[in-house]
């Protein structure tokens, strides 16, 4: 009997260790801390690109020039297509949204809803027309037309050699004047990464 007890305790301990090993571990990370796991495009790249683009776009001449026009205070911008031409599946929505947020919050630029968003808003307005009280009704045909359209591309060049790769990302954003197709601002941000694949695993 005496011998059985330590065995049981041992088994219980083993089970405990095994259970501890299996538990999901979560560690909160600071948003600004760069964590690179696979070498693929991640939130850090997205943030770096949007920060650079916002800083650059707000400090350029097009904004001053627009404000200088009679009767104009803030340009209205619409987000067009940002195309992913890279070799990775990248969610471009995250950094276009981040740019949109920062630009709106800067108070220097107005953003108008995109094509898809407008559809929903128009439906709502139609509904208001029928069902809302007269003094709260928003009439149709009074939308703010955009002055500029923001478009962009993400491109990559990958140079692989064995287990090592150099990945070069180039993000281009362009602001096009809707009145005359003039490109008023072109922003560019490059990111270079050296990715070395592990040769050994467990």
């Amino acid at each position: 009997m005496i011998r059985v007890v330590p065995l049981r305790t041992g088994l219980a301990l083993l089970a405990l260790i095994a259970a501890a090993g299996c538990a999901t571990k979560v560690e909160r990370l600071d948003e600004s801390k760069a964590v690179d796991l696979s070498g693929a495009w991640n939130d850090t790249d997205s943030r770096l690109v949007s920060e650079e683009m916002i800083r650059d776009s707000l400090s350029r001449a097009w904004l001053q020039e627009f404000r200088g026009r009679p009767g104009q205070t803030r340009p209205a911008v619409i987000v067009g297509e940002v195309r992913n031409m890279s070799h990775e599946h990248i969610n471009v929505a995250t950094f276009t949204l981040e740019m949109e947020r920062a630009l709106i919050n800067s108070g220097k630029v107005d953003f108008v809803a995109t094509k898809d968003e407008r559809k929903g808003v128009r439906e709502e307005r139609k509904d208001q027309d029928l069902n809302a009280r007269g003094d709260t009704r928003n009439p149709m045909g009074r939308e703010l037309g955009a002055d500029f359209m923001l478009t962009g591309t993400i491109n990559t060049i990958v140079d692989p050699s064995g287990d090592t790769q150099v990945r070069f990302y180039q993000v281009n954003m362009t602001l096009i004047s809707l009145a005359d197709n003039r490109k008023v601002w072109v922003g560019q941000k490059d990111i270079r990464k050296l990715v070395t694949r592990s040769k050994l695993r467990f």
Binding site: N84, M85, H87, P160, R197, F202
Partner: protein, 435 residues
Amino acid sequence: MLGAAACLAGLAGCATFSETIQSTEASLARHQPGAALAAYEKRSSASADRVLDLMNKGMLQRMVGDFDRSTRTLEEAKGLTDELRALSLREQSLSFAINDASKSFIGEDFEQVMVHTYIALNYLEQGQLDPARVEALQIDLLLREKAQRAPDSPYVEDAFARYLTGIIYEDQREWSDAMIAYRKAYEAYQKQLERFGVAIPETLKHDLVRLADRMGLAEEAAGYRKAFGISTTPSEEGLLERGEIILTVHAGLAPIKREQAITVLNPATGRFLRLALPQYRPRGQPLAYARVSAGSQSATTSRVENIDAIAVKSLESEMPAITARAIARMAIKDAAARAASSSDNRSLGGPIAGLAINIAATLAERADTRSWFTLPGEIHLARLSLPPGEYKLRIDLYGRGEGVLDSSELRVALRSGEKKYVSRHWVPNNLEVRP
């Protein structure tokens, strides 16, 4: 010792992979991909087979028509393959103690390229061109890497994957990239004609002429015209005024690996020796060609990929290494049994332990028969240019004896300049399924 031997036998299990998929195969032969998927998901599988399971599931989900889930599954397989590419010393030593199937499956080179190809096709059939282009770039990267790593392997280029990337670039109006991809596909078809038996597809010939014209490469275009005997072909501009149907037919199933094994009793030592090796058993590929028609206009498919032959040749080139490992393993296992039986000669424990290890090691010696068996045996492709409008497409599959194997219809609407990608998976009823 006995415990260790029992452990060994337990770990290895007693069935090879190809013996566990019969009900999936049978459902596919009955044209019930949904039932095949359910059967496949029901079987228990080892953690070393994760990638293989994802590949098979992804393909079955595609056959059911669930492109979103298929893409997610295959994308997971892709990521896991990347992680598993690193060498695991633990698995290496395990593979010497048990068998090759205890190593994590990451697929042959051609299977890895096929993962990208099918993700690209999933996106194309959903009308998402940009993500398909991402896969095209990844295919290019992967093939470049493989050519660097093993330039002498029988499979360094994937002609169809190259051709598909060309089609994607052309659809994106990236003429020079399309031209380069078409050229690479042409080169690969020429080089691999003898090995894989796939002639240059008729459509590719016209694509080369059209793109060379579009790029203003008069000399190259004239060369293609002469080589292929093409006098007239629609220009790129002409093609863009119309819409186009691009049909891929995925016919049959890839060959399946079977185990070839011999077990002998060594009279000198009284111990068993066993050698088990994988061998591909090609399945018959009864599809000759397919025809897609819309009213009076029709196009016939050409064979663009012979996965059957690629799989067989790939295994052939690896057979020396697989055999060497199997022989080394046989020697190691025999040495272990001998050491166990002679370790303690005073009692009967030694010989019994030796016998137990010998039996367990012999039972565990199974061939690695894992392969992406839900891949088709062959892929066929046709391009049909049509004026904008609504169509009822008819797809007829013809057998080697000219009889119609299968017919189906679907409705499509085409705008000018639009390309619609449609596909058809077809598995013959008389598929060889093990009882």
